[in-house]
Amino acid sequence: MDILLFGAFPYVAVVVFFIGTIWRYQTGFKYSSLSSQFLETKKLFLSSVPFHVGILVILTGHFIGFLFPSWFTSAGGGGIISFETITLAFGLSAIAGLIFLMIRRFQNERIMTVTTKMDILIEFVLLVQFGLGIWIAIELRWGSQWYAAVMVPYLRSIFTLDPNISAVSAMPVAVQLHVIGAFLFILLIPFTRLVHFLVAPFHYITRPYQIVRWYWDKKAIRDTNTPWTTTRPKHL
């Protein structure tokens, strides 16, 4: 059972994630944040902002721990306490925001008409995942230490295609569920609006404000020396 959940399921999730996101990207139309602010704006500020700020900080935290576990295993006690307090605050912000988002969604008729089954599913998955995360952070201290020491090697073993599940099998159920939840989250990304964070618009920062698209290389077309077969439209 453990092998199935911690050894095989991660691979299924990751493979589905890659194939799914690419498939969905190629069918083009469906990548969007599916913003519902146009239908309801008053309640969105106090839900979307704390939710996103919280989740982005927490996700980044998990990533940094995964990439540089030694920063945490070697950190002193005082540093760990203040670090965990801060991340817990962001975690609480994320879950509070998510609960507000769900209340907003379920209370508003207009938003319910643009709510898909997947929206509901993913928000519940996130709720459980956030809940587990916070429970772990409070009950199983100090998470940043053992995450770096125990979980990261497991996650890395998955990446190196040599899954070593002994460490997870020995973990408390809450942690195990959190791990499964994480891979479930990855698995669901291509089938939900979550694809929107894969296309977060960071390139906006560096691009010029105005964009002009030319379908044809006009100068080449006018030039009598250019054979017409080379002046194909750029978008085809």
């Binding site: 083009g28 309801e40 008409t113 643009v114 898909t116 390139h203 906006y204 030319w214 978008h235």
Partner: protein, 515 residues
Amino acid sequence: MDIRSQMSMVFHLDKCIGCHTCTVACKNIWTDREGAEYMWWNNVETKPGTGYPTKWEDQEIYKGGWEKHSSGNIALKGAGKRKGLLNIFYNPALPTIDDYYEPFTYKYLDLIESPQQDVQPVARPVSLITGKPIDIKMGPNWDDDLSGTPDFARKDPNLANLSAAEQEAMFQLERMAFFYLPRICNHCLNPACVASCPSGAIYKRGEDGVVLIDQSVCRGWRMCVTACPYKKTYYNWSTGKSEKCLLCFPRIEVGEAPACMHSCVGRIRYLGVMLYDADKIEQVASSNEKDLIKNQIDMYLDPHDPEVIAAAKANGIADSTLRAAQNSPIYKFVKEWKIALPLHAEFRTLPNLFYVPPMLPVMAMVGEQKGDSPKLHSVAKNWDDKWLYDTSLDEIFGTIDNMRFPLKYMANLFGAGDEKLLAEKLKKLMAIRIYRRHITVGDISAEKSAAALANVNLTADEAEAIYKMTSLPKFNERFVIPAAHREQALEMIEATEEVKGNTGFGFTEPPVRGL
């Protein structure tokens, strides 16, 4: 010099009869589908009025367009790199559906299927979003022809800097005047929508300057809706992507007029090519407010100038496009005759839709001086209702400065606040009428007509040409559209009639909402 060609437009407001045929033509082709019911890419507003969406011109509310900062640079008022990305999770300046109106239909079937009963069955209104019965609070053109004036016309943002007395004068019952303002996307040279889009989905086509939203790149960050000061990008609440007027590019590419223009009953619409220097865009858009209109109009180049032609050719502009630019009705109205002005140039997007300001409110004014005022024409003195539509033209120039619609109001719309500029255009239009009246009715002397023309620096030939282009233009004089070369057109390979109800942006997948 980086010469490009731009599809530009002139709407002659004196000719608009407010029939909304343009609006319906557009709706039928492009926005008759879920999520787009509330969108009117073409809409016709009554002015004075609050417009669509309500009070769209008030950028203190909507934060659209560009602002000039003390540094001399311009920046988007409500979007841009810093504001746009910081506000991405929640956009504080996003209009909501209630600023437009909640789309609705009626349960017509209830009329047919109602059992026999003592009272007439009614068709109740239902929301097109939720499908539930609603109380209709607002609909498209709720304020048409000044209906509901205290709620609408009186709240027109363009009245803000008019004195109370001036406003009262505009709203005296039985003397109220109004005109229609048809609006579509201006396909701006400095489009705020393009600049605001974090994913880079909105772009200006190099070939003809049409501004489009790439539906497969739009991610629903909804910044363009805030940024466009004319509120001509719309968020489709069903697909989760934004949409806008596409100037019927599949029609333009084959040399056909866009649907709104083709169907225009008043024949108020003109479409043609303008050549401009793309290197100047930023500089012109950052001009001081009082120079904006002049600098924008200076930016368009003379298509007969050999130097311009050579530079345009070097830049790859086709001969057919150059020929179209030389016959462009837009060039005539804007550059030669100088009687068309952009709407709200102070938004700094350099719009490519120009308006010939309407005369009607001016004409209706003359009889304000009651009784035996020496200003009144002898014929008008016999009328009981002397203040009404006095078309006698004696001394009519004098009335432009104190017309029924304060000049300030018209200047707020079309002159970026410059009343002199507007008076100049109206006098020109008046002079042409005096000249034509001299010819057709003959009750105005040749001297008077010549003096009127001289006063506004028009020759009789020019006046005649303006009159012809205004009153008698043939279809192919109103629309001078260079068809894309057959082998270069994008849409010719597709059967567009088969994809009605789809997204219709050269993107022919049914518009399914993401999972």
